[in-house]
């Protein structure tokens, strides 16, 4: 992962830089997640030193930032393949990368060492904004906007100059919406309902609309690259996916407007459209398996007698993309649908159930495919024709998937208990909350979540080790 030896394009080298930072931040995310999970069990742990709020903030911020890094990296990596061109502003792109990375470092250090400020505008500008996922202080927001503008200009100008494939067309349009939405999270209001209304524009319209379309485009690119799938078919699917994802996801936003002070009509709108959101996720799952089976079938049919046929030229990447197809459907589709109707959500809203869904969805829909893209990057950078899984690849896959599923099951049980005891039986409130938190079912579930978190972390160690070594090892063999 540390070499660019076989990359011809500056764009792809830049992409690798983004991948490198992304994997480091992923590690940081998991470590802080473990701290937060320990505090659930042993509340004295780092109390008034590094409190839960700080650990959690770094956990979810590192999550969002590493994913954005890996997304930018993936786009820089695919640009030359798709457009047939070198990125127009490689120098500027590099500068933007270093500026962003320096800014992220400062923000994280301030989170960890300064943590909170006084109740003034200065805190919002310099320390943190105190709004989940987009806590980055205002100065950093503005920096991010500038860096993203440079990135977007690079993508757009290169696209206009080179081949305009369907995949890149979707990418360019989608990135525009994705970047623009960030602006909805950059203002302060005294009205908490207004605050949450626009906050969800960023969060929901990212993860359930623009990021999903991004993944659709990425998977399309990956299938062509790894399997040699037919572009016409892949691109037609992509447009159908865009139709279904945006058609359901945009108004599906309503499922966050049931209880924040917004009018009742969001019950019907949110329920109807968000209930349709799993449909495209099923379609994407079918699509990936179909293409895989089809290309493999072609290979086998055309292979000479006794010869082994392999359609897949990068089995680690393909394994992670297949995990994505299923994980997206399971974490976002199934776990999302569980609590998306207002009749259910009035009880599950803001419980461990939400956390169960949040973990499986972010992992299944995004972490997986972005890891797959990193393997594609390593393959290209090391000049390997056919990359195959090592023991470490398999350990990473197994431990991370097993760990995440385990955490999700534990949190789902915790959520189920919390919903029944705290919400349905006792009706919420301070005492009700702690009555539910202190029941053995909850305590055990929190123990299992921590144990499964450790399993996930072990998987991450294998992943990192594999990404660092697989390139060199297999380049030598070839």
């Amino acid at each position: 992962m540390l070499t660019n030896a076989h990359l011809k394009y500056e764009s792809q080298k830049l992409g690798m830089n983004y991948f490198r930072v992304a994997i480091v931040l992923f590690g940081a995310q998991l470590l802080l997640g473990l701290v937060a999970a320990i505090q659930f069990m042993y509340p004295g742990f780092l109390f008034e030193v590094l409190d839960f709020s700080v650990a959690r903030m770094v956990h979810i911020n590192a999550l969002v930032v590493w994913m954005l890094y890996a997304m930018i990296g993936s786009v820089y990596y695919m640009i030359p393949d798709e457009t047939g061109e070198e990125v127009v502003g490689a120098g500027l792109g590099k500068l933007a990368f270093w500026v962003l990375t320096a800014a992220v470092t400062v923000v994280v250090l301030v989170y960890i060492f300064i943590q909170i400020g006084s109740g003034t505008e200065a805190t919002i500008w310099l320390i943190n904004e105190g709004r989940e996922y987009i806590e980055a202080p205002r100065w950093a927001d503005i920096g991010i906007v500038v860096v993203v503008l440079i990135f977007y200009w690079n993508v757009f100008a290169t696209f206009m100059k080179g081949k305009r494939t369907g995949i890149m067309t979707v990418m360019v349009a989608d990135l525009f919406a994705l970047a623009g939405l960030y602006l909805a999270g950059m203002f302060f209001t005294d009205n908490i309902s207004m605050d949450q209304y626009w906050w969800w524009w960023v969060i929901h319209l990212w993860v359930e609309a623009t990021w999903e379309v991004f993944v659709g485009a990425l998977a399309a690119y990956g299938l062509i690259k790894i399997l040699g799938a037919k572009r016409e078919i892949v691109e037609m699917w992509l447009w159908i996916e865009v139709l279904m994802l945006f058609g359901s996801g945009i108004l599906g936003l309503g499922h966050h407007y049931f209880w924040i002070g917004t009018p009742e009509y969001w019950w019907e709108i949110g329920a109807l459209f968000s209930a349709l959101e799993p449909v495209p996720l099923v379609a994407m799952f079918v699509h990936v398996l179909y293409d895989w089976g089809k290309e493999q079938g072609h290979m086998e049919a055309n292979a000479a007698e006794g010869e082994k046929a392999h359609a897949v030229n990068n089995t680690p990447a393909m394994a992670w993309i297949a995990t994505n197809a299923f994980g997206n459907f399971l974490g976002a589709g199934i776990w999302g649908f569980f609590h998306t109707l207002p009749q259910v959500n009035i009880y599950t809203h803001g419980t461990q159930f939400t956390a169960a869904h949040g973990h499986l969805a972010f992992f299944g829909a995004y972490a997986t495919i972005l890891i797959g893209m990193m393997y594609l990057g390593v393959q290209g950078a090391s000049g390997i024709k056919k990359m195959t899984m090592t023991f470490k690849t398999k350990m990473a896959l197994f431990l991370i998937i097993f760990g995440l599923l385990g955490m999700t099951v534990a949190l789902t049980i915790a959520g189920y208990e919390q919903v029944l005891v705290e919400r349905a039986d006792l009706g919420g409130g301070w005492d009700a909350y702690f009555t539910a938190q202190n029941l053995p079912w909850m305590v055990q579930a929190m123990g299992w979540r921590l144990a499964m978190g450790v399993v996930t972390f072990l998987g991450f160690v294998y992943l990192l080790w594999d990404l660092l070594t697989i390139g060199k090892a297999q380049a030598k063999e070839a």
Binding site: S53, E232, W259, T262
Partner: protein
């Protein structure tokens, strides 16, 4: 593959156009609904409160009134009910004072990162109780916390707790000291009281039911 498409179902152009139309329509609908919602969730005025005009998000001066959370048979869930005037930290607050206080409270809630431990309106973290209706919580209503903190009123008890939470623990999982000043604490209590007056379509459900069972609380008086 043949050059000509046999049907529209395999035409990229058809799907591209459909995708654009569907996305455009959904976006336009969302923007239209947003305009409507903005109208309904902008804060009411002090006059609305005085005249008993119901607003989903009342004016900051709602801190001058008694707030309750009562079952509405027609709507099928609890709604906030704004009652008689009552002093808040021993006084009535003018519209300007109340607005400035709420502003300070909301800022402080962000600066101290309440949302990464608690949920507000159900959004945030799950490490500590939901604060949507914290102002109405039986533990504040029934005098338990006033006794623990040695204060005479609910708002003073809340402010004292927020300034030194780890001095008044009621559970092993404590709230840490966040260096909250007296002014910030008063502002935060105003922010919490205001939030409890927001019409959340009945979330959290049965909150007052619980209150009744635990004695004291919102339905019991």
């Amino acid at each position: 593959m043949s050059k000509k498409n046999a049907s529209v179902w395999t035409s990229i152009r058809f799907w591209r156009r459909s995708a654009a139309w569907v996305t455009g329509t959904a976006t336009v609908l969302l923007i239209w609904l947003t305009f409507n919602t903005m109208g309904q969730i902008s804060m009411g005025s002090d006059a609305d409160l005085a005249n008993g005009v119901k607003k989903r998000i009342p004016a900051p001066t709602v801190i001058n009134y008694h707030i309750d959370y009562v079952m509405d048979q027609k709507r099928g869930h609890e709604v906030p009910v704004i009652g008689q005037k009552e002093p808040f930290f021993g006084k009535q607050w003018s519209a300007e004072e109340a607005a400035a206080l709420l502003h300070h409270g909301k800022l402080t809630s962000q600066a101290k990162n309440c949302m990464n431990c608690h949920t507000l309106l159900g959004n945030g973290a799950y490490y500590a109780p939901d604060l949507t209706k914290a102002w109405l919580d039986p533990r504040w209503e029934d005098g338990t916390m006033a006794a623990i903190t040695g204060k005479n009123s609910k708002e003073e008890a809340m402010a004292e707790f927020l300034m030194h939470p780890s001095q008044y623990p009621t559970h092993a999982r404590m709230m840490p000291n966040l260096n909250i000043t007296q002014d910030e604490a008063v502002a935060l209590v105003a922010f919490l009281k205001h939030m409890s007056s927001i019409d959340t379509n009945g979330f959290p459900r049965n909150f007052s039911q619980n209150a009744k069972r635990l004695e004291g609380g919102t339905n019991a008086h």
